[in-house]
């Protein structure tokens, strides 16, 4: 050894560098692990944990018996595939096997083949497979003829009962449907969404980079709430008859739609509520693509000009203000000059019937007679308008009835205190023109007219889960005596007019009601200047009961084409009051009217005398 040529000082320098580097490494480590710890650890946890919701089973909807299932949730299967895991030739084989299993043809088969033979990591092949198909596919997977696919159960809402019309489900418009996200749309499904759906169970689990859940790491954050069942006030049997009658009438009358509500006037329970045309709620997607307006329930969501059924409220205002009673004589002149001769109103047939007692004015639906009463309700047009508008408001028009269905609309009232009515406005209002209401509002207001004067809240749900829904006590809007007089007036209408009597009266039962026939103004006609359509809206609201009124039935036939059109004579193949009788007969046979809730009021005497005797005559 000749001596060392390496440098101890340089070795020490190297050591110093090592120490410096390691100190800086520890410092950097502490920066990430201690100083940045909270922020980064939160990011890491967010990355590795997966929060997901398991929807609760949606509640079933039963009819009022609690045994007939109107809507329920079942498992259907989604078929998904992972084509990227298979060799291209194998993908085609699997696609062919699946097409044979599912019985697909044409475009469906081509589309499935295209998806199955793609290079994608995950594709949904088809959805909503029933148990039978799913088990066939499972058998094929076990036999290895089908590979690279998975079946996932998904909740699927079904409406098992067929409706009254072909290709519909029972009470489709009333119930609505449930979309892919489990959210109810329209009707009961929408208005009771949170009750039916419950609260989903919220689970947090760890996942790996491929999004697979790591076993045994899931924690339940919120246990969730099971969806509750609903028991409706709807009677499935009556609902079906109702839909069949509406179909028959709607087709015969060549109407755009026909709706009816059968309601208990004392509790507001709706026994049946239907509209022709309806739809198949199990096939809502096709309808959503084609005609989403079909989902709208016109009974609560669509307003129209009611016409002469509003004469009952003119009568009510006249009675209450002591301006008129059933026997007050009124001279029907066929037409009436208003606003200083600038405008005239007419009876529908433009004929004068001469002196009539007021009850006959209502029975024969004389526009001029009603207008004369309305014009004299108060001192001058302003006060009379205010009295009539207040009466409407009191009976629930212009505000929501509060029915537990989705998308109810309040209707349109013109408030005379904001913009005073002219005489012609008041006269038109006397027979239901210049106002827009919904059928459910009419049914509710007529219920108040006949039930002793209580404005009830209509509802379709009788019970939630195992709890009965409490019936809200309505407010007394008119006196019991006034209600009795209105009931009698409607009884008179049906029995006084021969064609009503022939087609409305049911032997063994007392029946009353009021018709309304309204022209339809279409602003698009006559090159945009507007004009009357050749179709009419027909309404009949009546009651039926042994003695006292037990059911209120509101019938609306929209845009019906009359058999002939003469002045004041637009007969239908099935008149609204005839449809009322058919529905009432069905109701008698399906509901046991004697078991319906009793009332405190004794049966009204058939020919009750007016409580007061206004001396005014209306020349």
């Amino acid at each position: 050894m000749l001596g060392r040529t390496d440098s101890p000082r340089r070795l020490l320098a190297v050591l110093a560098v090592f120490v410096l580097v390691s100190v800086s490494l520890v410092g950097r480590l502490a920066w990430w692990q201690v100083i940045q710890h909270d922020q980064l650890a939160a990011a890491a946890r967010a990355q590795i944990s997966l929060r997901y919701e398991q929807p609760s089973r949606r509640g079933t909807i039963y009819d009022r018996s609690g045994t007939v299932v109107l809507a329920t949730t079942v498992d259907r299967y989604r078929l998904a595939a992972t084509p990227a895991d298979l060799a291209p030739t194998r993908r085609a084989e699997v696609a062919d096997a699946l097409i044979a299993l599912l019985g697909l043809t044409g475009d469906d088969a081509a589309s499935l083949t295209a998806r199955m033979t793609s290079d994608r990591a995950y594709v949904v092949l088809t959805r909503d497979l029933d148990d039978g198909t799913a088990s066939r596919i499972r058998a094929a997977m076990a036999a290895k003829t089908v590979q690279g696919v998975a079946l996932d159960a998904e909740p699927f809402r079904v409406y098992p009962l067929a409706g009254g019309a072909p290709g519909t489900t029972l009470a489709a418009k009333l119930l609505g449907f449930v979309n892919r996200d489990g959210v109810g749309q329209y009707g009961v499904e929408q208005s009771y969404q949170s009750t039916l759906a419950g609260q989903p169970r919220v689970v947090v689990a760890e996942r790996d980079a491929s999004n697979n859940l790591v076993p045994d790491t899931s924690q339940i954050l919120q246990p969730g709430v099971t969806g509750q069942d609903l028991r409706l006030t709807i009677d499935a049997g009556l609902q079906l008859s109702l839909e069949q009658e509406l179909l028959a009438a709607g087709v015969a009358d060549r109407a755009a739609s026909a709706s009816a509500v059968v309601m208990d006037p004392y509790t507001g329970e709706v026994y049946g509520e239907a509209t022709y045309p309806s739809y198949d709620a199990n096939d809502y997607r096709a309808i959503a693509a084609k005609d989403p307006a079909a989902f709208i329930d016109p009974v609560v969501s669509s307003v129209y000009e009611p016409g002469s059924v509003f004469k009952m409220f003119t009568a009510l205002a006249g009675y209450e203000n002591n301006r008129v009673n059933a026997q007050t004589l009124i001279r029907d002149t066929g037409s009436l000059s208003l606003d200083g001769g600038r405008i005239r109103i007419f009876d529908s047939d433009k004929r004068a019937m001469g002196w009539l007692p007021f009850e006959d004015v209502i029975a024969f639906s004389r526009n001029v007679g009603a207008a004369k009463v309305a014009l004299k309700l108060g001192k001058g047009t302003g006060q009379s308008s205010a009295i009539l508008a207040d009466t409407w408001e009191k009976m629930g028009f212009g505000s929501l009835t509060g029915i537990d269905l989705a998308d109810e609309v309040p209707g349109i009232l013109r408030d005379p205190t904001i913009k005073p009515w002219a005489q012609v406005d008041l006269a038109n209002a006397a027979f239901g023109q210049g106002v827009a209401v919904t059928p459910i509002q009419l049914a509710t207001a007529y219920s108040a007219l006949v039930n002793g004067g209580v404005l009830v809240k209509p509802h379709v749900v009788a019970g939630v889960g195992d709890r009965e829904q409490a019936t809200e006590a309505g407010s007394q809007v008119i006196s019991a005596d006034m209600s009795r007089q209105m009931t009698d007036l409607m009884y008179h209408v049906v029995h006084r007019v021969p064609w009503y009597r022939d087609k409305t009266v049911i032997s063994g039962y007392r029946v009353g009601g009021k018709t309304g026939t309204a022209q339809i103004w279409d602003p698009r006609l006559n090159g945009g200047r507007g004009g009357w359509k050749s179709t009419y809206n027909h309404t009949f609201i009546g009651w039926i009961g042994k003695g006292k009124p037990r059911l209120v039935i509101a019938v609306t036939i929209r845009e019906a084409q009359p058999l002939v059109i003469r002045q004041g004579f637009v007969p239908l193949a099935v008149e609204s009051y005839e449809l009322f009788r058919r529905i009432a007969t069905d109701a008698i046979s399906t509901l046991d009217l004697s078991t319906l809730p009793p009332t405190n009021r004794p049966p009204a005497a058939p020919a009750a005398s007016p409580s007061s005797n206004p001396s005014t005559a209306y020349p």
Binding site: L2, V14, L29, Q33, A44, I48, E206, D208, A209
Partner: protein, 428 residues
């Protein structure tokens, strides 16, 4: 053949009577236990962490065997300990005999990886050599140890002429360049950095001219820039290093996952086997390049700091061994091995803590990988072998090289031993 054992100043001196020379004596004592303990501890931590970070992934893999990765690691650790024991017992001076053949073999192996039928590529770089049924080897690992041995031999032979340009710096470049260029061509820039820095450290310790070193540094920097600019994935790695959150699912993914793992560990760690990013398969290369992140996640700042401390122990004791080695070759060999192990460890850790761009090198003794583990252990054995012969400072064989000649150079045989003009200046 008798051996007399006596205790002299705390060291065991073994006298052997060589049949050939009859009088050659080697004074040996126990190896440096601090190094031994550090190496064994790191290897044990490695086996544990490789299992912890690979078990679930391996179980979910093709074989459904949670021991698929750690099993070979244990086998390689056992083989490596055998190699370490053998190298500890063998006189390190014999390595001078095989230094040239080892260098040549390493070059041949590094060339062979370019034969398509013999190599397979891992992760876009790091080529392995697969010959027949033998386990795959990483020739760059063999290149490292061969270069360290040969450089130590050559520096010791060259002596003070290392500081000259032609016989020193240029010759050094000629020795180092083939291996470095072959590794660059693989392309494995992480290993290139380790080899280059180790060689430069040895060159520096051996007495390189500082001005030449600075010049080399400048040239090297330009070379690095050129190589990086010519490889697209290297540019991506730089970008990911500068702002990993810019593309958290793409090029920044691995860096971010490593940092998230560290953050989950915090100060004290989640506990052994509690890693969520390794078991959950989020962190790529969790059991080799990024195993330090899993150590940080499971054992926190304390555990990760301990690993750094163990490497500092190796560095400190290695430099002490080099300082007190009995000869220049031993000193440079110890310095080279220490520099190699520490530089590779520091670069690997610096990658995980986002201080340098991703390079793809292993953490010595810890990361999964047979070649790396066994050759690192063998190198540690050489270091231990040198540590058995350390001597007290101030003895004759660490006397100044020039022995009073005044020019700082050793008296060397051969025509280039010293400038003649000094004598003829008339100073004597």
């Amino acid at each position: 053949m008798t051996a007399v054992v006596a205790r002299i100043s705390g060291a065991t001196v073994v006298r052997r009577h060589s049949r050939a020379t009859g009088s050659l004596q080697r004074e040996r004592h126990q190896p440096d236990y601090a190094i031994l303990i550090a190496v064994v501890a790191l290897t044990a931590i490695g086996v544990l962490m490789v299992y912890s970070s690979s078990a679930i992934k391996a179980y979910l893999g093709k074989t459904n065997d949670s021991f698929a990765v750690v099993g070979p690691q244990v086998v390689w650790a056992v083989l490596g300990f055998v190699a370490m024991g053998v190298m500890t017992r063998v006189d390190y001076r014999y390595l001078r005999l095989i230094s040239v053949p080892a260098y040549v073999v390493a070059l041949v192996l590094l060339v062979l990886v370019f034969v398509p039928s013999l190599n397979y590529v891992v992760g876009g770089s790091a080529r392995f050599l697969q010959v027949g049924p033998l386990p795959a080897v990483h020739p760059a690992e063999i290149g490292k140890i061969a270069l360290v041995i040969y450089l130590a031999h050559w520096f010791a032979k060259t002596g003070t002429r290392v500081g000259s340009f032609w016989r020193g710096t240029l010759a050094f470049l000629v020795i180092v360049a083939p291996i470095v260029m072959l590794v660059v061509a693989e392309p494995d820039l992480g290993t290139t950095a380790v080899i280059t820095l180790t060689a430069l450290t040895m060159f520096f310790v051996a007495g390189a001219s500082l001005s030449h070193l600075v010049g080399l540094g400048g040239i090297g920097l330009m070379g690095v820039v050129t190589v990086i600019a010519s490889h697209p994935y290297q540019l991506d790695r730089i970008r990911a290093f500068l702002d990993p959150w810019k593309d958290p699912l793409g090029i920044g993914h691995q860096t971010i996952q490593g940092l998230l793992a560290l953050a989950l560990g915090g100060m004290f760690g989640a506990g052994l086997g509690e890693s969520r990013l390794a078991g959950g398969l989020f962190l790529p290369n969790a059991s080799n390049d990024f195993i330090f992140a899993i150590i940080g996640e499971e054992f926190g700042l304390l555990g990760a700091g301990l690993v750094i401390l163990l490497f500092v122990v190796i560095g400190y004791q290695g430099v002490r061994t080099a300082l007190s080695a009995p000869d220049t070759f031993g000193s440079l060999l110890a310095a080279g091995i220490t520099a190699w192990l520490c530089i590779q460890a520091f670069i690997n850790i610096a990658v995980v803590v986002a201080l340098v761009p991703i390079t793809g090198i292993t953490l010595p003794f810890v990361s999964a990988g047979g070649s790396s583990l066994s050759i690192s252990l063998a190198a540690a054995g050489i270091l231990l072998s040198i540590s058995r012969e350390t001597v007290e400072r101030g003895t004759w064989n660490d006397a100044s090289a020039d022995r009073g000649r005044g020019h700082g150079r050793a008296h060397l045989p051969g025509p280039g031993r010293r400038p003649v003009s000094q004598r003829s200046s008339g100073r004597a």
